[in-house]
Symmetry: C2
Subunit: 756 residues, 2 copies
């Protein structure tokens, strides 16, 4: 029998039934009495001076209640990391989609009609779209105060790289490019905003970071953060995208002006042209290795295209620069990163946060090294991979580590050795590893961790409050399991509230694969606090010392004599009545022993726990068409203890499918007129028919810093997929994919070149 | 300088601006996505067997989504005190307005149209409307299991009444009648109900008793209380009426059947014919007194008309029977009460809760005694009135008592002695006293008290959670003041949440004038708990012991050295960050030392504190028309410390105005076809033009059991008004009003009789 009743068992997501039956109210479903509908006028030009905005005709349209432009905002420059952003464009538009004006009307049709009546005079300016071109002398400046369009430079170096390269048996060097992709969540971004007479703002928004968003928006709106309440309803996916975005602030400014609630939900086009897709990167990589396949040194240069605003691109580029340095026993490394402005849609977070881009590059390069040295790619990774209780070159303290087990179990699952040795024509098998974090201490110096509140009602109803966000990944279910386990309750008696910043604890939010570990430890601590109070009441009822009280199976019992017990509900009821209606409220928190990186050397320890993975793809390439078919996929993930194996496997399958889409299908086309394929007709994502059998393999070394031993899974589920596929293509055809996405045309051209 | 910064100062209600500007969302304003509109088919007969209900035509109407009758309910008999109630009439309708069926449709017009299409076959039964007639042998039975239609009998007796009457110098004896009046709140009753896929019910309802309602409705619906969440939005008044009512349950049953949210808001007619107006009472009173005006004994018999369901009528009749026994130094008393079913709308709570009815009778009788003995009515009350630290005949422990001061200050304010002595023709002045409670321990044996939660957010935003209800009386403002005072903050930084049973503490609710004392003590205890946590953080920051920390003026300082201080906001921020996002949450409760009355003798102590009052009316009677004009009013109230003098005075002015309406204008006419005047055209309430100058006088003996010394004011504001006016009419004309309301016709007839 397992030590656990709820943790480690598979459950459908606790909100799954409501969602599958269409009962869930998403942000787009919300209505408020007297609510208006907002729409945004966006720049049709990638770079243009705004000469004049004429709203008079729109204003006289019946049903239009407010029109706002930059002039209606406090005009404060802001941004979550870099203050290069205003709520509306002031003097010039910097990308096709930049916010110019907005309208709120009594219905969507009138709002749409009013958009057409707002006349903006532009003066077109020269544009730059490619980050490398943007760094060239003479390139048009996106922000006049940033010469060379370089928003940020990042450098990190350790060991003696030049010597390491000299000592190498081989050197591999190449340039890769990872393209811009869209997060393709089901529900577009949007918000419902209401403002009370004191000016206090309530914002219903599907966001991964309700608490941090609140601080950014307080800055943008020139108010105190406590004048903003962010409520997170159920929302339809995010994958990193649903952080700060002007669409939310526009709703607020409209609500302020109209004195009525305003809802704006992006059209799909709005979402493509003014969302925050993945940071495209040019990555130069140079690897040295010994004859035995020990990597001696690594040098990389990353140029990331931020688009017209930095948003989080800077942090993404720096993550790309050095997160992989803790995957293998690198000792001599150097990375330079450039975050570069262009006249394109601002790019930002997308599952993987830069590590996805670099994992593609590093794992492609390692494959080439293995090939040159004629070493099995799996063996090469095992020889270099970190193990438990190691400290990486940048000070990261790896506690649990299942990397080697992931490689062994994935290769075993697909019969790797055999398939590599008995290769068939145009069939291939490729492997890729990755590491990641469970929270990122590099984000804010002052703060790391998680908190929770567990309320036990009169009738024993348990409600869990947290400050993270469930974008559909199952965070609520994991929290419910953790608390149910601790309180000895069945899962369906524990309820997890969505975030309301007025009620929930402060939390960083759902990014950096931090939810389960940070939030989970927070709600576990809260459950412990609640339990302490309940145990005192139970001890009173059973006439023993609170220290002798244990709980399991919906009751409290005396240690060693399980028959002397009292049901949980009775204890909860007694607690509430004895305390004259005051519910048991456990408030708890988790403070991880992470180390903020040194600003100069970046030496530190950014996460309490690091997940690892190995994914293997099997492909077949059609020699007549160049088409790549992924035949089979195995994905072994070190997740610490899987709180909910079904959900963890779901994350893995979703991550692989998303990686397959990125590798083989998805690409945002940037044209002079902006995104050329801003819809799901032209921007193709995988359907069920495109996705092969995926075998998820859970490797579960118990993580000492995780709640019940858990680490994160969200991002590593994706990270290795792209290079696993391209390494399989290489194995199948000898063609090294250096630019995403792979297209049948490119493969066919390469195949023809070889035949010629 | 006052010892207090916030308590004892006048503030407009904290939600007043939103209400006066029309921004507040009341229950009737609420909408949910996919919401339906409900309407109820009500019996047109006061008593009729239901032969058949044909819903087929209504069902086929486009837009109708659900039709429900008794067959769609669990058929459980329930009721807050007496289980004589079902969600819909099963076999027979017992009053005009009884719930027969209901419909939910996509809009209100279709719902209305569907009502007409539901055909009900009735068989009329003999009816009884008057409670005295209902007690007669052979009267039709409203409930077959209650012979004589007597739902409850109540008896209380103390001392030796027969001997006391024998020893009396005079005996006064008469029969009075108090009529049925409607609470006339602005927003009719209603609810919005939603049911999730697990069957859990959310009910948005303007109710005084969210927590108790939840328990009653759980019984009615056959579910566990934790399967019901009651959320109390802002709502438009109650005055006692907004307790349990079928309209809420009908919304739930419709939502269950339709699988969509359903809102029902009563029409004004619905609200008149199926709300819960005041219990009409026949009261026989017999008083004995010595020559010096000392009351020797009191005997009363109360017959209260419950209508077709008891609801709270039983408790109201028993309150009428003996609450006044603790107003004066009665030693020999006997009361009998009969709660009687009739085929009329169920009656229930209305400001005063039976004590209003009996105060009218007792204070009228005392006036007659004073008159017979030629003693000044004010002196008579002073001679008999209780004082501080006295124990009444039924064990009630009066702590603070400002009764005598109330009489002295009210009489002084109107120049009483002078006006009584120099009486002018057809002008009169009359006085009445009352006592009341601040909470009623007689309600539930197991429980009394209050609880609160005080949350201090990251930025120092303070939110107060309580389980009571603000029906417009200003409860939230009082709680905000209490917490602001304790935390040394300005009022506008403290926010008070409306009740959500999933979040708020359990509370009995707003009745029995209990909110400020019970809830106030609860939130004060919670503030103390929050303060304890904050003081620890402040002590750390200031490097002193927590015991040396004090707070005031938005900061914490070291006792004795006010310059060593740190702002409140910084402490809150530090507390939240040091605790990794866990907010400071103070949970506190108040357990009063009340004594549940002995079931036999009713000896006990039902409230921690008793408010007192003396009101004086000056009237002029037009000898030609019989019309009574109230010229002036003084109302002196012992409220303990007035937390918010402006709000307390507002309660007094509102109570007097309501009493004036009851005395001179308001009357629900019961006809064979039900209420004959179910609208504000025919049911007349006072307007501003009808209300004279009212001088509120606050008498403030500090109550040791109250928060900052406060007692309640809600009900006593009304209680003495009726008899103050009728005593003034007696003084003006010699006509003793024994039946409410007073009408010009009755006065004129009496005047003519005297002239004849």
């Amino acid at each position: 029998m397992s030590d656990f009743d709820v943790v480690g068992k598979s459950y459908p997501q606790i909100d799954g039934m409501e969602k599958s039956m269409g009962k869930t109210k998403f942000v787009s479903d919300l209505i408020l009495p007297n609510m208006l509908y907002g729409r945004i006028v966006r720049s049709p030009y990638a770079h243009a001076r705004i000469r004049h905005i004429d709203t008079s005709r729109a204003e006289s349209l019946t049903g239009v209640k407010a029109i706002v432009t930059y002039a209606d905002t406090p005009g404060i420059k802001f941004g979550p990391r870099t203050e290069d952003w205003t709520i509306f464009a002031s003097d010039k538009a910097r990308f096709c989609g930049d916010e110019i004006a907005a309208v709120a009307a009594v219905d969507e049709d009138i709002a749409e009609e009013a958009l057409e009546l707002i006349k903006v005079e532009y003066e077109e300016l020269p544009i730059v779209s490619d980050p490398l071109e943007a760094m060239e002398p003479g390139a048009p400046l996106v922000h006049e105060d940033k010469p060379g369009n370089v928003a940020f430079e990042f450098k990190i170096e350790a060991g003696d790289l030049d010597q390491a390269f000299k000592d190498s048996y081989i050197i591999y060097e190449d340039r890769y490019y990872t393209n811009q992709v869209y997060q393709a969540y089901l529900e577009p971004m949007g918000a419902l905003a209401d403002v009370d007479l004191s000016g206090r703002i309530t914002l219903w928004v599907g966001t991964q970071i309700p608490n941090m968003m609140r601080m950014t928006y307080a800055k943008a709106l020139g108010v105190s953060p406590d004048n903003i309440q962010v409520i997170v309803p159920e929302y339809g996916g995010a994958f990193g995208a649903k952080m700060e975005n002007n669409v939310h602030l526009v709703a607020v400014v409209l609500a302020q002006k109209a004195g009525r609630p305003v809802k704006i939900i992006n059209t799909r086009r709005d979402d493509f042209i003014a969302g925050n897709p993945r940071v495209p990167m040019y990555i130069d990589i140079k690897l040295g290795a010994t004859k035995e396949g020990i990597i001696t040194g690594k040098d990389v240069r990353v140029v990331g295209g931020a688009g017209a605003r930095v948003v989080y691109a800077q942090a993404i580029v720096s993550t790309a620069c050095y997160r992989v340095d803790s995957l293998y026993r690198f000792r001599h490394v150097r990375s330079k990163g450039y975050t570069v402005y262009t006249n394109t849609v601002p790019t930002s977070c997308f599952r993987g946060f830069g590590n996805a881009q670099m994992t593609f590059v590093l794992e492609s390069a390692l494959d080439m090294v293995a090939d040159q040295l004629n070493i099995d790619p799996a063996d090469l990774r095992i020889r270099n991979g970190v193990g438990p209780n190691e400290v990486s070159v940048h000070g990261w303290e790896v506690t649990s580590c299942g990397l080697k087990d992931c490689i062994l179990r994935a290769t075993e699952a697909v019969n790797w050795k055999d398939k590599r040795q008995r290769k068939k024509p145009f069939k291939g098998i490729g492997l890729s590893c990755c590491n990641h974090v469970s929270g990122n201490r590099a984000f804010v110096r002052e703060f790391d961790g998680g908190a929770g509140i567990v309320r036990v009602g009169l009738d024993g109803r348990v409600t869990v409050y947290h400050g993270e966000s469930d974008m559909g990944q199952g965070q609520k279910t994991a929290f419910a399991q953790i608390v149910a386990e601790r309180l000895g309750l069945p899962l369906n008696t524990v309820h997890v509230a969505t975030v309301d910043t007025d009620i929930s604890p402060f939390g960083f939010g759902s990014f950096a694969t931090r939810g389960t570990l940070m939030g989970g430890n927070g709600v576990l601590a809260a459950a412990n606090e609640a339990l302490k109070q309940l145990a005192e009441v139970a001890a009173d009822m059973l006439e023993v010392n609170p220290g002798d009280i244990q709980c399991r199976n919906e009751g409290f019992f005396v240690k060693g004599s399980p028959d002397t017990s009292v049901p949980f509900k009775e204890v909860a009821n007694q607690a509430a009545f004895a305390r004259r209606g005051a519910p048991v409220v456990g408030v708890g928190f988790y403070k991880p022993l992470t180390v903020f990186p040194d600003p100069e050397t970046k030496y530190g320890n950014i996460s309490p726990a690091y997940p690892f993975a190995c994914q293997i793809a099997e492909v077949e390439v059609d020699p007549d068409t160049g088409q790549v078919i992924v035949l089979n996929f195995a994905a072994a993930h070190d997740v610490g203890r899987a709180i909910n194996p079904m959900a963890t496997e779901g994350q893995i399958q979703g991550g692989v499918a998303q990686g397959l889409g990125w590798t083989l299908m998805e690409n945002m086309v940037t044209e002079k007129e902006g995104i050329g394929n801003p819809d799901f007709l032209d921007y193709i994502t995988p359907t069920a028919l495109d996705v092969p059998n995926i075998t998820p393999i859970l490797v579960e070394p118990i993580e000492p810093n995780g709640p019940y031993g858990a680490k994160g899974i969200g991002e590593p589920a994706l990270n290795p997929a792209m290079s696993a596929i391209t390494n399989a293509i290489y194995n199948a055809t000898g063609i090294r994919i250096k630019e995403l996405p792979v297209s049948a045309e490119k493969i066919l051209a390469e195949l023809k070149k070889r035949l010629a």
